[in-house]
């Protein structure tokens, strides 16, 4: 179960998308998500799906990797689909039983909703798959620099993000180890009622948290020993640079958003 979490994983490569500045990719994904929420029709969804498909193809990331990322979120998608299916009124009635009625509108709505979530998540995964965590958090820090004037701790925030991403695999490995240790002592995580299974998680979570705090403590000392003293006066080995492909991508994203908004305005 835990091994399925692929967030923060990076697939090395040298595609057009890999080489884009992380700021460009971040801005693009924000624009893309906005466009997704503006979209209401088959045409606009079609356009956005095409953009996503082309991006995935260009990035040379295997489709299976994207699906693997979607898998843990299957539950949320099914849940959303069911909710929308039963609670949307309007359109012609397809069938009904007890207090539930399913209408054509409901089916359409549920379909779009699931599609939207899938596209949103696939886009985000494409971003993390093609960008090193370091570049990603650096990009975030630079994009948010204006907020430093308002005393928002932008550097600290991005440092926290990059450390969190760095420790995801370490903590997953540790969780696996603890799970196995508890199983060896007869703990049962897989059967029984939901409440029993939730209770069984406690002996997993407590040691995991204790160890995470100990790690945090040691990491803080190690960082201080390596002269870390906040963001002030810090330089970077890899300076981010915007180039022609970045400008191109940003212009394209603006055009894409404009087209979607105009189409939505006309009810398409």
């Amino acid at each position: 179960m835990l091994k399925d979490i692929t967030l923060g994983q990076y697939f090395p490569g040298n595609s057009f998308i890999h080489r884009l500045d992380p700021r460009t990719k971040l801005l693009f994904i924000i624009v893309y998500i906005t466009a997704l929420f503006v979209s209401k029709s088959y045409v606009t969804y079609g356009i956005l799906l095409l953009v996503l498909a082309v991006s995935i193809a260009v990035s040379k990331i295997r489709l299976s990797a994207i699906f693997k990322g979607l898998k843990p979120l299957m539950f949320i998608m099914i849940f959303t689909a069911i909710l929308n299916l039963f609670y949307t009124k309007g359109g012609t009635e397809l069938f009904s039983f007890w207090v539930f009625t399913v209408t054509t509108k409901g089916v359409e709505f549920a379909f779009f909703m699931v599609l939207r979530i899938m596209m949103l998540i696939s886009g985000t995964f494409l971003l993390t798959y093609t960008t090193t965590p370091m570049a990603l958090t650096d990009g975030m820090e630079l994009l948010l620099t204006p907020f430093k004037k308002l005393h928002v701790p932008v550097h600290e925030f991005s440092m926290m993000m990059s450390i969190a991403l760095r420790f995801i695999p370490t903590l997953i490995e540790e969780a696996d180890k603890i799970t196995n240790a508890q199983k060896a002592r007869g703990a049962d995580f897989e059967t029984g009622k939901l409440t029993d299974r939730a209770k069984a998680l406690l002996p997993l979570l407590v040691p995991l948290f204790v160890s995470a705090f100990r790690r945090a403590d040691e990491l803080a000392i190690a960082m201080e020993s390596r002269c870390y003293h906040g963001g002030e006066g810090r330089t970077r080995m890899k300076k981010l640079k915007m180039a022609a492909p970045d400008i191109l991508t940003l212009v394209f994203s603006a055009l894409m958003l404009a087209v979607i908004i105009i189409l939505a305005r006309f009810g398409i």
């Binding site: 090193t132 100990r214 790690r215 040691e218 201080e224 390596r226 002269c227 870390y228 330089t235 080995m237």
Partner: protein, 279 residues
């Protein structure tokens, strides 16, 4: 030679533990620049606490620590002290901040505000020194323990420190990983002139040291060359320590009445001493 680190009569208690005896209780020592020094001592004797005093992570309650003449109590010198004395800890996983090896090695020079071009050259140089250059684009969590620890050492070397303190860097490694790490730090000392302070429980790692310090209950109770220190087997045993395998063997043979020298520490010397006694 002048000492790079001077610890003068340091007393220290962790805050909130005032009812307990002090962790450091008059610890004093001097470390000469360019030497390979080993610190030994039983569990809880205060070795890690002392190590954290050597780069100003902890500040003495009494006494002082001088790094290249700079007092660790002087907050304005802290950054200079930390770039002079690098620190490597036991668990390599908990010292790495980045998800790519070379980004992690770049962390310290970035903190020091060094220009990007020079960081790049320092990172490459540091990774080559520990033989991890081919792994520069790898994810640290996929490396072996010995490799991780060598990356941690590179992360410190990139600061260009004059001294590296290593607190049980091999405790979590298998014998092969231990060899890699010890070989690397010995090379850094002998070829690059970096002062090495190694804290360890593996007596065999102490055999090649220039100087050995033995700690007990927060103070240094014995110091000298490995030959001097390990020749006193009974004393070390009474302090809850073992001795290198060679010293142990000679000690047992001597107890059973064979006339052998106490200070043959390397395996070669030990073998020759026994061969001579058998003639």
């Amino acid at each position: 030679m002048k000492p790079i680190i001077q610890v003068k009569d340091v007393h220290f208690r962790y805050s909130g533990e005032e009812h307990l005896p002090p962790v450091l209780n008059g610890a004093s020592l001097e470390i000469e620049e360019g030497s390979f020094v080993v610190i030994l001592g039983h569990n809880g004797s205060g070795k890690s606490t002392l190590a954290k005093h050597l780069n100003g992570i902890l500040i003495p309650n009494e006494g002082c620590v001088l790094v290249d003449g700079m007092d660790t109590r002087d907050a304005s010198k802290l950054l200079d002290i930390r770039r002079t004395v690098g620190m490597v800890f036991q668990n390599p996983d908990n010292q790495m901040v980045a998800s790519v090896v070379e980004d992690d090695v770049a962390f310290a020079p970035e903190n020091l505000g060094i220009p990007p071009k020079e960081i790049r050259s320092r990172v490459d140089e540091a990774l080559k020194l520990v033989d991890m250059y081919e792994y520069r684009l790898h994810a640290p969590h996929l490396l072996s323990g010995g490799q991780k620890q060598r990356v941690a050492i590179a992360g410190v070397i990139a600061m260009r420190p004059r001294c590296i303190v290593l607190d049980e860097p091999t405790a979590m490694l298998d014998p092969a990983g231990r060899q890699e790490v010890i070989g690397t730090i010995k090379r850094l000392c002998r070829e690059n002139g970096i002062t090495i302070v190694l804290i360890t429980h593996h007596m065999n790692e102490a055999v090649d040291a220039d100087k050995v310090f033995v700690m007990s209950n927060g103070r240094v109770i014995s110091q000298g060359t490995p030959k001097e220190v390990f020749s006193n087997v009974e004393f070390l045993k009474s302090e809850g320590l073992t001795v290198p395998d060679t010293a142990e063997l000679l000690y047992k043979l001597r107890l059973s009445g064979i006339d052998l020298p106490a200070e043959a520490l390397s395996i070669e010397e030990c073998a020759q001493a026994i061969a001579a006694a058998l003639k």
